[in-house]
C-alpha cells in the first residue's frame, strides 16, 4: 500500500473522530424538565417573565443576579447567574441560558440574550455574558 493511502486513511479517521466528538459533546437545546433529569450542563431557550422581579443588588453581592424565565414549554423557573446584571436585561425577548439545575434554581454560567435593537428598527441584536472568564 502506498504511503499516501495510509496517510489518507489516517486523515479520514481523524475527520470522523472530530465529527463524532462534536456530536457527542454537543447537547440539544433542552427544557427545564430536561435539566432536572441530568447533572450535566445544558442550554435552555427561554423568555423572561417580566411580571416577576429581577433581583440584583450590587451592594449586597455584585455577583448574584436572579430572575424568572419561562422555557418554550411554558414552564417557569428561577435562574441564578453568578455575575452582574446586564444592561437592558429587562428588554430581552429571548434568552439562551447555559447551566444546570441546583435544587429548584437553574444556575446559569452563560446568558445570551436577544434584544429588539434600538439601532436597527426592525432587527434584533444579541449580547452574551459569561459568569466566568473564558479560560483554557
Amino acid at each position: 500500500m502506498k504511503k499516501s493511502s495510509i496517510f489518507g486513511l489516517v486523515v479520514i479517521a481523524i475527520a470522523i473522530a472530530i465529527i463524532i466528538s462534536v456530536y457527542s459533546k454537543s447537547s440539544t437545546y433542552g427544557s427545564f424538565n430536561d435539566a432536572r433529569n441530568t447533572n450535566d450542563e445544558l442550554q435552555v431557550v427561554a423568555h423572561l417573565d417580566k411580571q416577576k422581579p429581577l433581583y440584583y443588588d450590587a451592594v449586597k453581592d455584585a455577583n448574584y443576579f436572579s430572575f424568572y424565565v419561562k422555557d418554550n414549554n411554558g414552564q417557569e423557573c428561577k435562574v441564578v447567574f453568578t455575575g452582574p446584571k446586564q444592561q437592558d436585561f429587562e428588554r430581552s425577548e429571548q434568552i439562551v441560558l447555559t447551566g444546570a439545575m441546583k435544587g429548584n434554581e437553574f444556575h446559569a454560567s452563560k446568558i445570551l440574550m436577544k434584544c429588539p435593537s434600538k439601532y436597527k428598527n426592525d432587527q434584533v441584536e444579541i449580547t452574551e455574558v459569561k459568569a466566568k472568564q473564558a479560560s483554557i
Binding site: Y23, Y119, E128, I136
Partner: protein, 824 residues
C-alpha cells in the same frame, strides 16, 4: 420631476443607484468578454472590450462610494443607510467608518478592493490576464448583485445603500400621524438626526480593521482565479508560480486583519480576552488556515512536482470558504450562537447561491479535467521536506474542518431539522481540539526545516532533530514552570514544546540565512513569528489571573456562596475605599466626564513592606450612558513589557442618564434624605468624633467675617467649627458655620462628598463650653460605587510581536517569490 416630499435630495441616490446597476452590468460584460477572448487566442477586440468594461466597473464602484460618502457626510437622512449608521454628532473619522457599519458598506469595501486587485492583474498578469480576469470579473459581478437592490419578479435582489427612508420603513403603517399626507410629505422634519453608530464600534480600530480584513478576503480571489485558469487552459503546471506571491499577500493581509480584530476585542470591547471562538471570529480564520495550508502545498508542487491535486483543491476551497464565511456572518443563521453576526437582510438564498456558484464551478472543472491532472507515479520519500509539508497542510485542513463543522451547527440544524446545541463550553471545546492540531503543526514547522526536498541523509537528520527537540523540551519545561502553564492540561504543555521547537529550528535557519542563504529568511522569520504567537496566546490565555476576586465577605447568602464553582470575579468598590487585589491596593477615586464618555478613575498602588508606595498609576475604564443602549463599557489596560493589567467596569451607580446637566438648587429637606438619620455630638475643641469610615477632630472654633453663602451684616454673629477629618487614610477639612442674625439662629452645612459626609454646626452650649455638631453619613448604598473586574494577562506581548514578525516574514517571502518570477 415633482417630488411631493419636502427636503429630500434625490440626485445622489439616483446617481448611486445608477452606478450600482452599471457596476453589475460592466462586471458581467467584462467577465463574458474575457471568456470569449480566451476562446480565440488571436482576438484583440474581445480583450479590449473586457478591459474597458472592467475599467467602467472600477469607475462605477468608486462612483457608488462617492455618492454614499456624499450622503453620509452631508447627513442626508432621507437615505436609510445614513439614518441607520450615522448621526450629526459623530466625529469625522467615525463618519468615515460608519460607511462600513452595515452590510451594504462592507460589500462595497469588498468590491472596491477586488476592483483594485483586478486592475493590478490587468497590469501584471500578462498571458494569464484573460482567464484569470474572467473569474475575477465574475466574482465582481456576483458581489455587485448584493448591492443592486432591485425588485425582480417581486423578489428584491441584494440590498442597496441608496434605499430611501420612506421606502425602507413603512411610516404610514407604523406611526399613525403619517396617515395624514401633509404630515407624511414633510416626514423628514420628524427625523432631524440619524441613529448614530453603535458606541461599541466607535473606536479607531473600526476605522482600520474592516478595510484590512476585506482586502484580505478580496485578494483571496486571485489564487482561486489562477487555479481555475490553470484547469481551464490546461496549463496545469504553470499557474502555481505566478499565484504564489498573491497567495502570500492574501495570507499576510488577512492574518493582519484577524489579529487586528483580536487586538480590538482585547483593547476596547469587554470580551475579557483576545479570542472567544465566536462563530464570526471562526468565520474569518477558517479561510486563512486553509490558505496557509494551500500555500505550503503550492511550494511543494513548485519544487518537486508532487501534490498537484491537493494544491489545486485547497486553493479552490479557500475561496469557496471565504464565500461560505460571508454566508455564515451575513445571513443571520448564526442568530442563536453568535454575539456579533449581522442579522438577516433578506439575502439568505442570495448568499447561498453565491457559495454554490463558485463551489460548482470549481468541482465541475476538477471533474472534467480529472484524468489529465498531473500525477507523480512515485510516492514521496518519507525523509523528504515535501512529504511533511504536505502532512502539515493536511493537518491545517483538518483544523479548518473542525472549525467549519462546529461553527456551522446552526446550518446543520437548518438543513436537517435537528436541534443540536453548540458545545456548552465552546471556548474549552475549541481550545482543546485546536490545541491538538497546533501541536502537530508547530512540531512540523520545526523539524521540516532539517529535511531537504527529495531526499535527506537520515542519520544526520535524526541527530539534529533530536538535539533540537531536547533543547526545546528543556526550555519549554523552564518556561512552563515559571509562567504557570504547567498547571494546564497536558496538550497545552505540548504546544509550548512545539512552539519553542519551531522557534529554535527556524532560528537556526535564520542564522544560516544571514550567513548567505538569504532567500530562506522569509519562511524562517514567518515561522518564528507563528511560534511566538502560539507562546503568547498560550501563556496569556492560560495563565490570565483574575485579581478582582470578591473577598470582602459581602455576599448574597452563605448558601449561595457554598455552591461549588462560584466564580466571584466581580468586586464592588465604594468610592475612596481601598481594596487589596493581589499586590495592588486599588481605589475608586473619582470620575471625570467628557461627554459622551464617563471615565472611572481607578487608582492602583503597590505598597512595599515598609509602607512606601513603590508604584502608582491610574486606569480609566470608561462607559457611555447611551440613551439607546444603556451602559456601554470599555476597559482600560496598563501595559507592562511582560504583562498587562486589564480593568473594566461591569456595573455602577455613579452614572445617571443625561448626566452632565446637573439640576441646580436641591431642596434641603430632600437632600437630607440622601443620608442616614443624623447623629449629634457635643464636643469641645480637641475632642474627636468617630464615624463609620474614620474620625474627625474639632480643631478650633472661631469667628468668621466672610461667608460664601450669604452677605454678612455688621450685626450678624457667625462662628465656624474647624474640623479635621480622616476617612480611608485621606484627610479633609470642613468648616460648618453657626450664625445668629436678629436673634434667630441659622447654620450652614458643609459637605465632604468624598467621605460621604454632611456636617452641621447646630448649637452652641456656652455652659459646657461645648458645641453641637450634627453628623450626616451617607448610607453605603447611596455612596458611589462601581462593580469592576480586573484581569492580569501575562506575556501577551509575545502574541502581538509574533504577529508583526510573521508579517515581516511573509513580506520577505513575497519579495523572494516575486524575484523568482522575474528571473524566469
Amino acid at each position: 420631476m415633482d417630488n411631493p416630499f419636502k427636503g429630500e435630495h434625490l440626485l445622489p441616490g439616483h446617481l448611486g443607484q445608477f452606478f450600482t446597476i452599471l457596476a453589475f452590468g460592466s462586471a458581467l460584460l467584462s467577465s463574458i468578454s474575457y471568456y470569449f477572448a480566451v476562446k480565440d487566442e488571436f482576438d484583440v477586440s474581445w480583450k479590449r472590450l473586457a478591459r474597458i468594461s472592467f475599467y467602467i466597473n472600477t469607475v462605477s464602484v468608486i462612483g457608488i462610494g462617492t455618492c454614499l460618502y456624499y450622503i453620509i457626510l452631508n447627513h442626508l437622512f432621507e437615505y436609510y443607510y445614513a439614518f441607520e449608521h450615522s448621526s450629526r454628532a459623530l466625529p469625522i473619522h467615525f463618519i468615515i467608518s460608519s460607511f462600513w457599519d452595515g452590510q451594504e458598506g462592507s460589500f462595497w469595501l469588498w468590491t472596491f478592493w477586488q476592483a483594485v486587485i483586478g486592475n493590478v492583474l490587468i497590469l501584471r498578469a500578462k498571458s494569464w490576464e484573460k482567464p484569470v480576469m474572467a473569474v475575477v470579473a465574475l466574482s465582481q459581478a456576483a458581489i455587485a448583485t448584493m448591492l443592486i437592490g432591485v425588485d425582480i419578479f417581486g423578489q428584491r435582489i441584494g440590498t442597496s445603500p441608496f434605499i430611501l427612508f420612506r421606502d425602507a420603513i413603512d411610516l404610514k403603517g407604523t406611526i399613525p400621524i403619517f396617515a395624514n399626507p401633509a404630515v407624511y410629505h414633510n416626514y423628514l422634519k420628524y427625523f432631524p438626526d440619524g441613529n448614530g453608530m453603535n458606541p461599541l464600534l466607535q473606536n479607531y480600530w473600526m476605522v482600520i480593521h474592516p478595510p484590512t480584513l476585506f482586502l484580505g478576503f478580496a485578494s483571496m480571489v486571485v489564487p482561486f482565479a489562477y487555479a481555475i485558469a490553470g484547469l481551464w487552459q490546461k496549463r496545469y503546471t504553470e499557474w502555481i508560480k505566478p499565484a504564489i506571491p498573491y497567495t502570500l499577500f492574501a495570507m499576510m493581509v488577512l492574518g493582519t486583519g484577524i489579529i487586528m480584530g483580536a487586538f480590538w476585542a482585547y483593547e476596547s470591547l469587554s470580551f475579557g480576552g483576545f479570542w472567544a471562538w465566536d462563530p464570526v471570529e471562526n468565520a474569518s480564520i477558517i479561510p486563512w488556515l486553509i490558505l496557509v495550508g494551500a500555500m505550503h502545498v503550492m511550494i511543494v508542487y513548485k519544487n518537486t512536482g508532487h501534490s498537484y491535486f491537493t494544491a489545486t483543491l485547497m486553493v479552490l476551497m479557500s475561496y469557496v470558504l471565504v464565500l461560505y464565511a460571508s454566508f455564515l456572518t451575513r445571513s443571520g443563521i448564526l442568530g442563536d450562537t453568535s454575539v456579533h453576526a449581522f442579522t438577516d437582510a433578506g439575502m439568505f438564498w442570495h448568499l447561498v447561491a453565491d457559495v454554490v456558484i463558485f463551489f460548482v464551478l470549481a468541482v465541475v472543472l476538477l471533474v472534467i479535467r480529472w484524468k489529465e491532472l498531473p500525477r507523480t507515479q512515485k510516492d514521496e520519500e518519507t525523509y523528504s521536506r515535501e512529504f511533511w509539508m504536505f502532512v502539515g497542510a493536511v493537518f491545517l485542513c483538518l483544523s479548518c474542518f473542525h472549525l467549519v463543522v462546529v461553527s456551522s451547527i446552526p446550518v446543520w440544524n437548518a438543513m436537517f431539522g435537528t436541534k443540536i446545541a453548540p458545545p456548552t463550553d465552546p471556548v474549552k471545546h475549541y481550545n482543546i481540539v485546536q490545541a491538538s492540531f497546533a501541536v502537530v503543526v508547530t512540531l512540523l514547522t520545526g523539524f521540516t526545516q532539517f529535511l531537504k526536498y527529495k531526499k535527506t541523509a537520515v542519520t544526520k537528520f535524526f541527530i539534529t532533530t533530536v538535539v533540537y527537540l531536547v533543547c526545546a523540551a528543556l526550555v519549554a519545561t523552564l518556561v512552563v514552570y515559571v509562567t504557570g502553564v504547567a498547571k494546564l492540561q497536558f496538550v497545552f504543555i505540548l504546544i509550548m514544546v512545539g512552539a519553542i521547537y519551531s522557534i529554535l529550528a527556524n532560528g537556526k535557519v535564520l542564522i544560516d540565512a544571514l550567513k548567505g542563504k538569504y532567500k530562506l529568511a522569509g519562511s524562517a522569520v514567518a515561522h518564528i513569528g507563528f511560534g511566538l504567537i502560539m507562546v503568547g496566546a498560550l501563556i496569556s490565555a492560560g495563565t490570565s489571573d483574575i485579581i478582582s476576586i470578591n473577598t470582602t465577605g459581602e455576599q448574597y447568602s452563605d448558601e449561595f456562596v457554598k455552591a461549588k464553582n462560584n466564580p466571584r470575579e466581580n468586586i464592588i468598590m465604594y468610592k475612596n475605599t481601598p481594596i487589596q487585589m493581589g499586590k495592588y491596593t486599588v481605589t475608586y477615586v473619582g470620575d471625570s466626564i467628557s461627554a459622551p464618555n464617563h471615565y472611572f478613575k481607578v487608582d492602583y498602588k503597590v505598597v512595599d513592606a515598609s509602607g512606601k508606595v513603590t508604584e502608582e498609576f491610574m486606569l480609566k475604564p470608561n462607559a457611555q450612558a447611551n440613551p439607546k443602549m444603556g451602559l456601554i463599557s470599555s476597559p482600560d489596560t496598563r501595559h507592562y513589557l511582560l504583562s498587562d493589567l486589564y480593568t473594566h467596569v461591569t456595573y455602577t451607580n455613579a452614572m445617571k442618564p443625561g448626566e452632565g446637566t446637573e439640576a441646580a438648587g436641591h431642596d434641603e429637606a430632600d437632600d437630607d434624605k440622601n443620608y442616614e438619620a443624623p447623629l449629634t455630638y457635643d464636643v469641645a475643641p480637641g475632642d474627636t468624633i468617630r464615624f463609620r469610615d474614620g474620625y474627625m477632630t474639632l480643631e478650633s472654633i472661631g469667628k468668621i467675617d466672610h461667608l460664601q453663602d450669604i452677605q454678612l451684616q455688621p450685626t450678624d454673629l457667625a462662628i465656624g467649627a474647624n474640623l479635621h477629618i480622616v476617612a480611608h487614610d485621606k484627610t479633609y477639612t470642613a468648616e460648618p458655620v453657626y450664625m445668629i442674625r436678629n436673634n434667630n439662629a441659622f447654620d450652614f452645612a458643609r459637605k465632604v462628598d468624598d467621605a460621604g459626609l454632611k456636617l452641621r454646626f447646630t448649637k452652641v452650649l456656652p455652659q459646657q463650653k461645648k458645641v453641637e455638631i450634627t453628623l450626616y453619613q451617607q448610607p453605603e448604598s447611596a455612596r458611589k460605587w462601581i462593580v469592576m473586574r480586573a484581569i492580569k494577562f501575562p506575556d501577551i506581548n509575545f502574541l502581538w510581536s509574533g504577529t508583526i514578525i510573521m508579517v515581516i516574514g511573509i513580506l520577505l517571502s513575497i519579495f523572494r517569490r516575486n524575484k523568482e518570477l522575474r528571473s524566469v
